[in-house]
């Protein structure tokens, strides 16, 4: 049997979104999951969380890396706004943004500090008519820039409980 593999140049945002969600484990590691209690995002972004990390926003585009970056930055800005914290008082906005695109977006190296931006190569392939996602290795330059961890904002709970209260409310 011959495998007919070719690059996909046109893919709908919902199909790409499904591929990204199906591959969260490969992108972020074991235990990665979608964050449910986050305001609605458009089809080109998903909010994810890892078992030991804060939420990470994935912004993806099958062709245009710059668009993926700009969309991600725009959504990061929205998710960090006061509106997002109105009803979820311990809500933490995404601590990082990961851009998924065929190439590194222009200006990526300029980002550092409290909002780390990283990039992973993805390419959509069609294998015998079935869509698949090829995920590239972690680029070394991106990996080197990643260690800057954002400072986690203390929640209201953490800031006002004294040690005695902390002990009392450490378990049910």
């Amino acid at each position: 049997m011959t495998l007919q593999i070719h690059a996909v140049t046109e893919i709908g945002s919902s199909d790409l979104r499904r591929l990204v969600i199906d591959n969260l484990g490969a992108l972020l590691g074991e235990g990665a999951r979608l964050v449910e209690n986050i305001p609605h995002l458009d089809d080109c972004c998903v909010a994810t969380s890892h078992s030991h990390d804060g939420p990470v926003l994935l912004s993806f585009d099958a062709l245009d890396s710059q668009r993926a970056l700009l969309t991600g930055l725009s959504r990061m800005d929205q998710l960090g706004s006061e509106m997002a914290t109105l009803f979820l008082q311990d809500y933490l906005p995404p601590a990082g943004l990961m851009v998924l695109a065929p190439a590194a977006p222009p200006g990526l190296a300029l980002f550092c500090g409290p909002c780390p931006v990283s990039w992973r190569r993805i390419q959509v392939l069609s294998v015998n008519g079935e869509l698949g996602l090829v995920i590239g290795p972690v680029p070394e330059e991106t990996a080197a820039a990643a260690p800057v961890q954002p400072e986690r904002r203390p929640t209201i709970v953490e800031s006002v409980l004294n040690p005695e209260e902390e002990r009392h409310f450490s378990q049910l």
Partner: protein, 205 residues
């Protein structure tokens, strides 16, 4: 005795009344009767944790449904009263909360209990207040009891506050209307018992 022929219409009316909370599409408006009215404000501290189950009662739904229920459960028709349910943020300055009774809506888990306690602590820092606590999202009754006991004992021990237990309210289902009506009645009773007269009336023209 009622004419049996009226029974279907009566059942239909009762059915509409029982599901009316589903048809909430806007904040309850204050009745414009042309006469001065009274607005009762019920402050709600939302201790909704990040892990609040998707199938539990959601905070905005509760606030809309409770406002609706308080407004149709005509406790005081003569005064042309209207109820306004308002979320308060204890961490961002609680001085604007004037009412002595505050409803606390908490996720039934450890984080929800901690958030509820923190809000109660902050809201009672400068003014003596009473709190009614309603939970949602518990997996069983034993878990509800543990949440209630942990929060109540902490509030009593550290703040000297006795909490009013309002139980647990699940997501809308067959018994939701009755539970909501019971909750509204209890909230009204507590609100009335713990509000001083000049706080109860806000003239509305």
């Amino acid at each position: 005795m009622h004419n049996p022929a009226w029974r279907p219409a009566q059942l239909h009316t009762e059915r509409l009344a029982s599901i009316q909370h589903h048809f909430i599409d806007e904040r309850p408006a204050v009745r414009n009767t042309g006469k001065p009215g009274v607005i009762h404000t019920l402050p709600v501290h939302l201790a909704v944790a990040a892990g609040h189950p998707a199938d539990a009662l959601q905070p905005q739904y509760l606030m809309d449904a409770l406002a609706r229920q308080l407004n149709i459960q005509t406790f005081d028709v003569a005064k042309h009263t209207a109820w306004h349910v308002e979320a308060v943020s204890p961490g961002r300055g609680a001085s604007h909360v004037e009412q002595h009774f505050v409803l606390v809506f908490a996720t039934a888990n450890l984080e929800g209990v901690r958030m509820a306690y923190t809000g109660i602590k902050q809201l009672s820092a400068t003014t003596s207040r009473q709190f009614g606590v309603l939970y949602s999202g518990a997996r069983d009754t034993d878990f509800i009891r543990r949440c209630q006991e942990r929060l109540a004992s902490g509030a009593e021990q550290f703040l000297g506050i006795h909490l009013h237990e309002l139980g647990h309210l699940s997501a809308p289902g067959p018994d939701f209307s009755a539970d909501l009506a019971r909750l509204a009645g209890e909230v009204h009773r507590l609100w009335e018992a713990h509000s001083i007269p000049d706080q109860q009336e806000v003239a509305h023209t």
